[in-house]
């Protein structure tokens, strides 16, 4: 696996934050890989394990546990809609539907635990996530790393327009 020098220097720097145990750097390294490559591939797991002197299973079991890590590529822009109670009361379920409609995403079933849904052109992917901690201003969502609160259904097209 080809690791760009810039990424490797970030990795080496982050490992210094954990002088007691390199293993603690597992999550930060996975974040760096995912940010750079868009997902966590087998080679990344092996690379991280070698770097931190772990068995690959020690890294794989993190990737399969933590919901934010991806084995499959996301759309060019990734939308996360909060599903939890306060947002649901404010229209969170409808918000996901509206995003799907305007982003050409076919929604197979409602609720959590759906596989990642993607638009046919690969531009957008969408998922429900649990509480994003802005419950007073629901429904809330994230597009990539940007956060939006009190999103009205009619604002969805212009919001998508910004993420081409």
């Amino acid at each position: 696996m080809e690791i760009p020098a810039e990424l490797e220097s970030q990795i080496d720097e982050v490992i210094t934050h954990y002088p007691v145990s390199k293993r603690s750097a597992s999550l930060p390294l996975l974040h760096l890989f995912q940010e750079y490559f868009g997902r966590i591939e087998d080679e990344a797991i092996e690379w991280v394990a070698r770097k931190l002197e772990l068995e690959p299973i020690n890294v794989l079991e993190l990737v399969t546990f933590y919901p934010m890590f991806r084995r499959e590529p996301l759309g060019k822009h990734h939308i996360r809609v909060c599903r939890t109670l306060s947002c649901a009361m404010a229209g969170g379920y409808q918000l996901l539907d509206t995003f799907c409609k305007h982003a050409n995403i076919v929604r197979e079933q409602s609720g959590h635990g759906d596989h990642l849904l993607k638009s046919t052109d690969g531009k957008y992917s969408i998922e429900f996530v649990e509480c994003l901690a802005s419950c007073g201003f629901g429904p809330v969502c994230m597009i990539d790393d940007d956060f939006f609160e009190a999103v009205a259904q009619e604002e969805v097209p212009q919001l998508l327009e910004k993420y081409q």
């Binding site: 934010m68 306060s86 649901a88 901690a133």
Partner: protein, 455 residues
Amino acid sequence: MASTVRTPHPREKRIIFRNIDRPGWTNDIDCYFRDGGYAELKKAFTMKPEQIVNEVKASGLRGRGGAGFPCGVKWGFIKPGGPKPVYLICNADESEPGTFKDRYIIHQDPHQLLEGTVISCYAVNARLAYIYIRGEFPLGAKILERALAEARQHGFLGKNILGSGFDCEIYVHRGAGAYICGEETGLIESMEGKRPYPRIKPPYFPAVLGLYMCPTIVNNVETLCNVKHIVRMGGAEYAKMGKPNNTGTRLLCVSGDVQKPGYYEFEVGGITLGELIYDICGGLRPGRKLRAVIPGGSSAKVLSVADRYKIKSRQPDGSMLEKEMGLEEVPIDFDTLAAAGSMAGSGGIIVMDDSRDMVWALNNINEFYAHESCGQCTPCREGSLWMKKITERMVHGGGTKQDTDTLKSVADNIAGRTICAFGEACAWPTQSFVAKFRDDFVAKSAGKENGSGLR
């Protein structure tokens, strides 16, 4: 998406949230300096660490993350001069549904958190600290990284801080979307690079065995911010705010069916649920009546407006007085909400009016816990999913006559039977919703006998 200016309500007492939405306030260190920033850190270094621990004990500060454990007592578990290094972790994994307070401290006033954290590190002699921030706060993590770099530049971190001889380093550690990382021993496992399976108790406190099997203090963001103000005011003065055993101020996050949801800061117990809903939050939507309140994050037991609450409280002369009150008269503090059968928890207050379907609401909560159970203990792993399946079929009209009792029985078999408090956290909503709104559940499950083909 409209960004609103949120001016504080005149009844609020803003200490921790003093700078939140403050006109002209920015989150860089220069702005913090202009406001007298890091003066308390300098003051702390004129004190002995034990003195700070004593001030925090005298303040009566209780943890703001959910359990409400006295902070000074927790710190007191650290024996000075022990053979092992001490670590401090700031729990910034804010994930309890209904809670959205730490977000604003991190984004708008990160230096308040850093100052409180360095003071706390000095008090418990921790030379290495981490801020465990949830993965869903990518901007918050960047802001903290920048604030740490600024603090380092000004000598508030690193070797021999301000000539005190005390060394301390703080790093940001990002989670990756798992609620269980808010449980302190799960958080520690996660910090060690493992799956965040909570640890078996005892030892009950990471202060005994924590990160890397060393004494570790885990404190919530709001708790650590309070430490700065305790150093400023002195513990005794701080304890004058609020009421005995419920001191200081509390950040309350209000969501759900009120006209003006949002975050507010009051003296603990200084306001009742009714005052909060009607006076501060503008009341309910037109034509609606109050039905229920979840007072401390989604794990807290729901309280119904139809019930009367018998609250015992200690009087100034030491005697106990029992008073019966309605939901709207209940003051928001740790002890009263516990006496009312729920908890102040993380300060997340979810208000529900009479348009809400209680089965639907519980199903939403159950889906959260079914998704977030770490899977380590069988009662929780299986039970949280069963509860979700039962409420889901009730919502969709497929309930059986036995479902209400089955639901309660599943919940009863989780609470108290798991390694960590997630078992209670997922059982309490079901137990309380079924107890308080039994008719709603029976109505939704009256359809079919068991064995109707629904599995």
